[in-house]
Symmetry: C2
Subunit: 329 residues, 2 copies
């Protein structure tokens, strides 16, 4: 009846589980609240129960379920399958998440960080499904990254690579939460896009955002994009700053791993085409003239399911390469 793969997207708030066939078709899907406060062992129990429910409700033969993939907040060790010390998973330090889930389900498993599994999902079945090399920027509270190079994820020597939000794009620039100055994240995250607008508004710059700012003492990234779409010059200037920063990072990645596609995802992409169009414009304006660069800028297509799909996809990928650890390891 073909092979099946389980995917778990473990978030700080919610967990999504899924069962896919080997063509990537989603056969079943489940979700529940994480309850980090209850600790790792009860969470593993709920994750395993949810996976078993998916298998049973579709009457899948257990021997046809070949592997499980888990995406989790990091930092974590891909090689050892352990959480290291994830700020969003308090109490999980050094927890062998892969071995625990694998042992209880009786299926070999792989573990990777949330940004990587989402990147793999978009690469496998989403915005990057037609290419061999892609880069993904997750534009949210912070900026996460993912890199696929010659159809493999780039993990780095200690599994902490692809931290694209923390590449420095402006020397001695804006202070980032990470302690560096001038990070991409300090310009182009949703948080810093709103912050840059607030700073300009606090200086008294003329803008249709001023009333909102006066009423609430703050504006959101969505407000900034909405007012930019409505033609407010200050909002346009702020959004342009965000797009220009992403364009600079995209040019740099084109010169480093040379992706065919840059995929944008995260809450900010609800703004839609305005973002990709502006990034495209700045990319074309700023890129070298030595040769034409054919890189495409695309929005992610899988939405919130990229993580669980990518987790199952990584399990399938490891299965096909013969790279799976033993059950319970």
């Amino acid at each position: 009846m073909g092979d099946y793969f389980l995917g778990i997207d473990l978030g700080g708030t919610n967990v999504v589980t899924t069962l896919l066939d080997n063509s990537g078709q989603m056969v079943a899907r489940d979700g529940f609240a994480t309850h980090v406060d209850q600790g790792p062992k009860p969470l593993v129990k709920r994750m395993v129960a949810s996976c078993n429910k998916l298998i049973e409700e579709k009457s899948i033969n257990r021997s046809d379920v070949k592997a499980l993939g888990i995406g989790s907040p990091g930092p974590l060790s891909v090689v050892e399958g352990k959480i290291i010390n994830a700020p969003n998973l308090h109490g999980f330090a050094n927890f062998p998440l892969r071995a625990e889930c694998s042992g209880k389900l009786g299926v070999p498993a792989v573990l990777d960080n949330d940004a990587n599994v989402a990147c793999w999902g978009e690469f496998w079945l989403g915005a990057g499904k037609d290419v061999t090399d892609m880069v993904m920027f997750t534009l949210g509270t912070g900026i996460g990254g993912g890199i696929v190079c010659q159809s493999e994820l780039v993990h780095g020597s200690e599994d902490n690579g692809a931290e694209l939000g923390h590449t420095i794009i402006v020397p001695d620039g804006r202070l980032c939460g990470c302690g560096q100055k001038g990070c991409l994240e300090a310009y182009a995250s949703a948080t810093h896009t709103a912050k840059r607008a607030e700073e300009a508004l606090a200086e008294g710059r003329k803008s249709s955002l001023q009333q909102l700012f006066k009423d609430n003492g703050s504006v959101s990234c969505k407000d900034v994009f909405d007012h930019a779409k409505a033609g407010d010059p200050l909002a346009i200037e702020i959004v342009d700053g965000t797009a220009k920063a992403i364009a600079q990072a995209s040019i740099n990645m084109r010169h480093i791993t040379e992706p065919q596609v840059v995929v944008l995802t995260g809450g900010m992409i609800k703004a839609g085409d305005i973002l990709t169009k502006k990034v495209r414009r700045f990319f074309d304006e700023m890129i070298w003239t030595l040769k034409k660069e054919s890189l495409e800028i695309r929005l992610a297509t899988l939405g919130g399911d990229a993580g669980c799909i990518g987790a199952a996809g990584l399990a399938l990928h490891a299965y096909e390469k013969g790279d799976l650890p033993a059950v319970g390891a």
Copy 2:
């Protein structure tokens, strides 16, 4: 008697050929002037004759010579083994260099660009021989790059990745020869280090370099480093600018492919420890505080032989992986 591998480092001015055993020991070495003006066919003849000479003078059994590696200026196609349109190899556009050399020598061959073969040489037997992930900056007239990720070279989707000199480190910064503004190369190459000094001298800045500048109308990168070592404040400021740019690029690469080691090479490293010490200092000052980063900054150790050694090493690597094209392909 063991396996042997040939390496050719084809430069715009000189060609170096070498024969290595499978432990990387250099058995024989030869060199001659390139004479690009005579065209590709006579050059192939001389390259093949030089390789045959190495084999014959050491009385190596021809069947023990398993493969040839060629490093050449790019852009080129690694997959097709062809020069595309290298500015330093006028008249070689679309020339099938790999097939020509391989066919005439009767040995399977691989072709890669000069920066990549030198990077592979340092990774295999030089400054990066103890790591799995490294990045190399070649600091000369321009800035070349090389990336090794999980013990494999990063080529990019069209074999033009690892152009680290053309990552933008300052938005709207100094104009680079490539047409971009703010490239690493526009700050930290030998050419631009000298240029930045000349610009400051032309503004009348006080410096022990002024006399030299008045006499010659120019200063060299070596002059700037020499005067910095002697304590001249302006020269120190210029060298600090170079080191800070390299540190920023090193931080960025640490967050992207997460190398364990950054290797510096090219003419500028004749300046010695002053460069690595300053890059180290700025790296430590500018890197995030989220976790300690253990990256090392090292000088290359193979000198001018990195290219021919790396070319032979890539041939060995392809041989061991079973990745060699057919003879004459």
